[in-house]
Symmetry: C2
Subunit: 310 residues, 2 copies
């Protein structure tokens, strides 16, 4: 197998694009895919200061590395979720990456704030992954506003997005479908823009990038994610991808292309997006953050669980 | 495991409905599901004479059996596709069923007409499954018009329809999505109504019905269908169904519910359905059958292959 670009020995084949690359050309390919996603979906410009959410896993560290390589001004944010052992090990990977590259990383610890995710989930009797999502959304936006960042970037890859899409379509969850896109625009000055620059890269490509560029990331999966439905959606999609290379990409990009029309169909049925969330957009009277409900989802969660952040 | 209806020993569990049945109650359940599909989608009434397309497989023979049990006036139509060996064995199953029940079956032989499907596919260099579909659509409608039937019923089950839907959605084939429904209305007096009364029954349920009612059907799969993409879609859906019983049903019925809105979104984009097919609806100048194109797809296929029906 030879590199399609330079003819050297290839280290990876990419069936979805009918191609194969050596290490150096693969890195160029990855950078090109990310540049293309940024341009195609107008994610941000050279002038924007970007906050990258880094968990310590392959995707978010690869994302940070790529954005730095492409010359963007971006700083890291790590949420220590307070998951026994796993969180310490994840945090270490993020901290080590930042030290090695000499870049700024802010760490917010749920343990230190008295709201570790497993405890919040237990006390509120909500599913862990749902609690984790609420906590992340809250602190990602809060930290971005505090630091003056215009954009929050996360490491969601094509497999994540295609799996999420399959789940939403399997149950025809129009309100989620209408909101699933690689760029969520800012809302006034309360919610910053959210972007997913890896949305054109598969999980395999993202892992290969981390390995080939020597990124030291946490290999273990979150212990709370066992049995998560997203894993099943990914499995089903991988079966299709195996026999139809490019299926995931065509599924996801075809959806994004048709999203405006689907959103309109949804609005026909249920009214404008957001109206279902219980009123118009305002501030949470508890924490002052942007929310469709009062208190916001995060404050409701911490109130329910009896664990307010210190 | 006990029957949820009568408490006797159950022979089948149906996870999607959180239930289990003995033989007799399962048969009642199947009849109820078919009655529900007929009523919900207004497929036909007691007054309609129905032409059931029977291949000799479990689904179509089960369908014929069920419609007879429910008291509908229905006759069978079998197309002998001319697939060496397989077609003879399939035909035999259909003929034996009809004889046993003392009901009318019309057989149309592609071999005798000089247009066996494998030869048509080879000569026209088209995929076999696509040729087979064109031939079936042509003769199903032709036979219905000749016999004065208002409705053509086929044995497509929930797995067939969910797999077809997944394929259409994976590639966002709006023109097919807009036309996928359990009832296709008649078009003037040239195209009869087409219905799929088994659309609420899974493949497993349809097979169980055939076995438990003693229907002798052909077990082998069509030799031309090897490697068909529909098999992969079914496999992926079965993985999801295994961990989320009811997923297929929710996927398919949710789609049908939202179809009018999706169709509208599609029309927004491409114009009214049918316009893409090359003009308005009329008669084929070769065979006189209803068609959006002239010649119709069937005549184009036979002209291309140089094999005109005798």
């Amino acid at each position: 197998m030879k590199c399609r670009r330079c003819g050297k020995r290839a280290v990876i084949d990419i069936k979805a694009h009918h191609t194969a690359f050596c290490r150096d050309c693969f890195i160029l390919y990855v950078h090109r895919q990310v540049r293309r996603a940024i341009a195609e979906y107008r994610m941000f410009s050279r002038e924007d200061k970007i906050l990258v959410c880094v968990s310590g896993g392959k995707d978010s560290l690869a994302l940070w590395d790529i954005l730095l390589s492409l010359g963007y001004e971006c700083h890291g944010l790590h949420l220590d979720l307070g998951i026994d052992g796993y969180s310490e090990r994840s945090r270490m990977k993020a901290v080590e990456f930042a030290q090695k590259r000499g870049c700024t990383l802010r760490v917010i610890s749920m343990e230190e704030m008295g709201i570790p995710v497993p405890k919040l989930a237990k006390k509120s009797r909500r599913p862990e992954c749902s609690v984790c999502g609420t906590v992340k959304r809250h602190f990602f936006n809060k930290a971005a506003l505090e630091g003056g960042y215009k954009v929050v970037a996360t490491g969601h890859n094509l497999d994540d997005e295609a799996a999420r899409l399959l789940g939403n379509i399997l149950h025809w969850q129009w309100e989620y479908l209408a909101k699933q896109r690689p760029v969520l625009p800012p809302v006034s000055d309360l919610l910053v823009r959210k972007v997913e620059p890896l949305c054109r890269l598969s999980e395999r490509e993202s892992a290969a990038y981390a390995i080939l560029t020597g990124i030291d990331y946490i290999l273990e999966e979150c212990p709370m994610s066992k049995g998560a439905t997203s894993i099943r959606y990914k499995h089903a999609l991988n079966i299709l991808e195996d026999s139809m290379p490019g299926a995931k990409m065509s599924f996801y990009t075809g959806f994004i292309k048709n999203l405006p029309r689907l959103s309109r169909a949804w609005e026909d049925l249920h009214g404008a997006i957001g109206e279902d969330s219980g009123g118009s957009f305002s501030r949470c009277s508890e924490c002052g953050s942007a929310s469709f409900t009062d208190p916001c989802n995060f404050c409701r969660l911490t109130i329910e669980s009896g664990l307010r952040p210190r």
